[in-house]
Symmetry: C2
Amino acid sequence: MITPPTIHAFLPPKRILMGPGPSDVHPQVLAAQARPTVGHLDPLFIGMMDELKQLLQYAFQTKNDMTLAVSAPGSAGMETCFVNLLQPGDTVIVCRNGVFGERMRQNVERCGAIAITVDNAWGEPVNPQAVEAALKAHPEANFVAFVHAETSTGALSDAKTLCALARQYQCLSIVDAVTSLGGVELRVDEWGIDAIYSGSQKCLSCVPGLSPVSFSPAAVARIQARTLPVRSWFLDQTLVMSYWSGGAKRSYHHTAPVNALYALHESLRLLAAEGLEQAWQRHNDMHQLLKLGLESLGLKFVVAEHCRLPQLNAVYIPAGVDDAAVRKQLLEQYNLEIGAGLGDLAGKAWRIGLMGYAARRENVALCLKALENVLA
Amino acid sequence: MITPPTIHAFLPPKRILMGPGPSDVHPQVLAAQARPTVGHLDPLFIGMMDELKQLLQYAFQTKNDMTLAVSAPGSAGMETCFVNLLQPGDTVIVCRNGVFGERMRQNVERCGAIAITVDNAWGEPVNPQAVEAALKAHPEANFVAFVHAETSTGALSDAKTLCALARQYQCLSIVDAVTSLGGVELRVDEWGIDAIYSGSQKCLSCVPGLSPVSFSPAAVARIQARTLPVRSWFLDQTLVMSYWSGGAKRSYHHTAPVNALYALHESLRLLAAEGLEQAWQRHNDMHQLLKLGLESLGLKFVVAEHCRLPQLNAVYIPAGVDDAAVRKQLLEQYNLEIGAGLGDLAGKAWRIGLMGYAARRENVALCLKALENVLA
């Protein structure tokens, strides 16, 4: 026998999470998650799942019937959209202006489809003119995929315009809303988004591990018209929906992550109680406060003001400052987490998140004072 | 705007979970899960992940370096094994004696590989002679896949013999241990298992949503020798391992389900404190008690005694008894969940789980008395 290791209980400190996610989780959400586990086919749990769908529809501003939470993190939500919609031979215009656009491209290729990339510099939004040029040059394209809120840079792209363009050229749109859902304006039905995925751990202030997704009727029709099976059994929405949409007749596909779904239900309830537009406004208000403070510390934003995300503030690290040492000091002395740069911005920028429950005045004040002290 | 739905907090009752999983979650595990969320790259969290790996190695009885928890339920753990190991053209001997063997076959086909099925009746274990005959008939086979503990029937197969056979015929073994891990003898290294997956919500008594997996050095070599990329980005272990094995240099792949991992850490700590062999013995002891009681109620087991799982007791529903009505009464009057039959056994059998924290004398007593009352 391999002998048992002696390991103590893990007692994490109370951090203030102002990085790119996970963000601060609301105490009511943590409490909800700790409620007793029930069976995933328990009638009471099924009732909760019906409510969860309504709450997700509200957050996404959609009436899409195929609206649910994938039982895995945002990256799996991304894969859910691509693997269900794409078949080998499909062509996807993939917009890249940061890490997650490139991840989309990798998903497209792993589905055996063709990716036509439209590149914008890191920190810039996706350029609709460039997308239109690609659509004209590639009449065979049948999808346009882009990131609404690029978590690696803090740039906001114009989802409404991009989805209208996709439709104009008979393409379906696939939108990454991991960091945008609940933090900035997002209207799935009004903007004509066909497939969208998000994450629980950003502006919804839920624990990490779930990925809300929604598919338009046109996207569902495309899935139903597949000639080849979905490559992933676990993410195959034609199978998953028999659980999510079955009402009292829900059938078993996989064991739902019961307690994590309690947490998502509670976090979406809090969002509905606050109101979506109020939540968008709060993110913006807190961003304005943070921005003033960061600028007075002499920090410069990576992204131009007109397309800057309120919930993800990427600022350049001042010359001569030790990136890792500053983040370590903030974490160890103030229990404050801010994010490192990712990809092209690694070592060059910090990413300060103001997501969901983290977007509060006390957090802005703490962050500014702690940064001021550490940079002094 | 779509208006916000008015939805109340979800306050689940305290059920006693004696179905096929999720099983009763230990109160310490629920409490651990509710601890404050920290960042997935926080040094303290990374320390916890290192401990979690040691605890998983203990539970699996392995020194495999590629031992981790997939950030999704057991079905995703199954897919992780197949999608990483298989390439189009590979041939897999797939043993089917219940629902999950058939699910393995579907995974094989979705990977573009060829499945050679070896069938045994529902309720019977996998027959090693039949597997050897298939191996002889298919010298091109390079994998043998089977379910150690069939959750749909309660049959235990001889994993040690089957893995030795696989090795004898130069095949790698892929083993479903969703219901076996922590409940019955399982020795990954000693038995020469090459790829194995389990679930958090069965005999580990953790919340549902995570899937422990482990790959032998031979399996890792097979993954590294791939000529085609893994079809799934999310489940690609060559990418995931840069997070799990990076030590202080862990790099970002996807956001780990932080709180669920707290829960798994705590549940595995409880298992290590009890001792694996003691846990196996407890499952068997409670099964013996339950068996005596069920037999005195006149209930007959689906599976023969020599290959019966202690943690999953499938018994035939007596003639004239209303399946759904009995389960409903148990749930509503006693807060007791037992499982319905699945697949071929739907409407014909009940599945009574004694998994992990649920395998306690008080649960056996409650279950027997409640069944006696309801069947009277």
